[in-house]
Assembly symmetry: C2
Homo-oligomer: 419 residues x 2
């Protein structure tokens, strides 16, 4: 399959300039980027981009995809009550069929929002992997071990999903310090060392979590995880709202990834992550939506907007965060965090994980700065086409690999079983 | 013109329940809401809503529509520098043709975002009024007097635009305390009393503004305006970020309107309005986008989301603001603030200012709570149809009264003259 995109403006994300011309894909990869040139190649399809922007797909670097079941279900709780009163009781009823369909729904939302891969922490992984591969979506699992389960099959999952399908991978991970005892953390660390694998977890999401950890161990979660060797091969954490300067210094020194989840942190009253401090400290950063129960959408546009502007209040500085740095975090950052080779930028030989931004929308005009328009003004209505691994999965509002009506019907039906 | 919407769910905004059935419009008004019943009426058009939600159009209660010219133009400044370095020099070059086309662009963005009327503070009003009437959009001017101009034709504008067209109205208003000297404020107050008119202005947007006012007058802007009689016939203010408890008590006692502009306040580093305090004090509230230069989109969905969740951080309470109260502010509140009779809710005899929310989007499923989905998860991609005064102005991505390609072309061209 060879596709030619012409009349395009290409934002490679290697820098913030736009290349006017063409992009060709061949099978799963990018074959050409540059000026319009004659070609004797046989294209299976030629797409007139009408001046729209092609850029690397957005990467959702922290999510619980199948939690679409919990959208608008319990909007009144802070994190602790939300987990224990609303989520855990329903998750106890979740089976593979639920996870399969609610993952499909989440994948549809990703594609409609220009997202081409996600870093997913959940259970019933076989069901999610099946939904992802059927859809053609690039899906990276993060281990979800806690004291209630997961450790017994962490190693098996690691090996199984890292050789499952080219679109699927698995990273070592656990839920959080407050749900995983020291003995279990040590067992996870043994696997981290056995496989020389990076390791990820929720971290410093709430003030109470950090205080609890200090009470138990005398140190913050980041310092604890480092002491236990969990970061010896890299990795990182989700949320990072209540990081100390020492935590940030540790993350910078070890090249760990901090993932921001602005909407979820606002909605659950967890706090505001000082994004500017992470950038000032040259920490590797990426962006995620968290699950639909605590966001409640899976929009990377809303996340990127908030990561750009929220720091302004604390700093009283409208330029506290550079918007292009945030766009890099939302595209290349997530790809590098997930270890997705060739998915970070658009260049010849890289994977064809591409989103076309519809610049012919009122919110994208005038074009004083088209790239800034994407960060400050775009939403899902600006996504014209989403391609993963060389396949067009979403175009002009239509899904090519998901039966969306059946997905809606099944999700509305299955959610009744969880009430 | 008589239109029948069937297979609809109707959110009247009189309460948060959904009525399953039909809504008929006749000419500019709503003729019927209720169950599906046989009718011998001749409908000009019958629209199958496929279960989508009909609700009152969103009301943008504070904006500078033609400032679309400044989108992504100077994103690095706080309010004071932004005005003086980026905006005022360009506004000095703006003529009626600029305002006409950049207003059209803004109107297109409103319609694509389900907005059916706006409260606009800008100049070259004749050009904006023409754009609005040509488009069929409901457009209410707010006086924009400051020490640089506007006072000399405030009374004339008031009379002219209140009898210009059924879609156009004009309210007394001025820019802000820090741009309008006491002598001019007193002259505005004379007109307020002559016409027994409510009066509006930017107020307490930044901490520096409040401190400046206290330095000049010994009181906050709200107290000053009240002392000068500017609030004797109602009115209110935009932003209200730095209100004191006394300001809120004044606004509650006099039934004044507080308008929230969350995105603009974040982007310009002005601060976060404690929305929950206004609700707890039973103050009349509405929501606006502010202009596209400081937002940078004109999305009421993003505003409503932020007004619902931003207070959670300060209060450490995920239920600090009720989402339905915010949806009321974004629909009925704005209508009542602007004095738009019959535009606040959907009921028989009221104006047909209606938006159809596309519930067949991934972000709107499952339907644990469809109304909350609108606040927490919707964006412009969920707007299927926008009707103003009984006319469909936007449907399935198409504008019926705006030549959108010509508008884009003119705006991209004209913005070059302002650089």
């Amino acid at each position: 399959m060879r596709i030619r995109f012409y009349n395009a403006r290409i934002l490679t994300m290697e820098n913030d300039s736009l290349i006017e011309g063409e992009l060709w894909t061949s099978d799963t990869s990018i074959e050409y980027i540059g000026a319009s040139i004659p070609s004797d190649k046989d294209f299976d399809r030629q797409i007139d981009c009408q001046g729209n922007i092609l850029m690397p797909g957005l990467k959702d670097a922290h999510t619980h995809t199948a939690m679409t079941f919990s959208r608008s279900l319990a909007d009144e709780y802070c994190l602790d009550d939300w987990l224990h009163k609303a989520i855990f009781p329903r998750e106890a009823k979740l089976n593979a069929e639920h996870v399969y369909w609610f993952t499909k729904l989440g994948l549809a939302e990703y594609l409609a929002g220009g997202i081409t891969s996600c870093f997913d922490m959940y259970f019933e992984k076989e069901a999610s992997a099946r939904a992802a591969v059927e859809t053609g979506f690039r899906f990276v699992f993060c281990g979800a071990v806690n004291d209630f389960g997961g450790l017994e099959h962490l190693e098996e999952d690691y090996n199984r999903f890292n050789s499952y399908d080219p679109l699927v991978a698995f990273k070592m991970g656990f839920h959080a310090e407050y749900t995983t005892c020291e003995d279990n953390l040590k067992k996870i660390s043994e696997l981290v060392h056995k496989y020389e694998a990076p390791c990820f977890a929720h971290i410093s999401e709430t003030k109470a979590e950090v205080e609890g950890c200090k009470g138990r161990y005398g140190v913050t979660p980041a310092v604890l995880f480092d002491r236990l060797g969990l970061y010896d091969y890299g990795g990182g954490g989700f949320h990072c709202v209540w990081f100390t300067d020492e935590d940030r210094e540790l993350y910078a020194r070890k090249g760990l990834w901090a993932v921001f989840n602005a909407c979820s942190n606002l909605k659950l009253a967890s706090g505001i992550t000082p994004v500017y401090k992470f950038i000032d400290n040259n920490i590797n950063i990426a962006i995620g939506t968290d699950g639909a129960g605590s966001n409640n959408s899976l929009s990377m546009f809303r996340e990127m907007y908030l990561d750009t502007v929220l720091s302004n209040v604390e700093t009283v500085n409208a330029a506290s965060v550079d918007p292009f740095t945030v766009l890099k975090a939302g595209t290349s950052g997530g790809a590098n965090l997930m270890g997705l080779d060739g998915c970070d930028t658009l260049k010849v030989g890289n994977k064809a994980d591409i989103v076309m931004i519809d610049m012919n929308k009122p919110s994208m005009k005038p074009e004083n700065n088209p790239v800034r328009n994407i960060i400050y003004s775009a939403d899902n209505s600006c996504v014209k086409l989403t391609m993963v691994n060389g396949r067009i999965l979403y175009e002009n509002g239509q899904f090519t690999t998901i039966d969306i009506d059946e997905t809606y019907r099944m999700c509305n039906k299955l959610v009744e079983e969880l009430i």
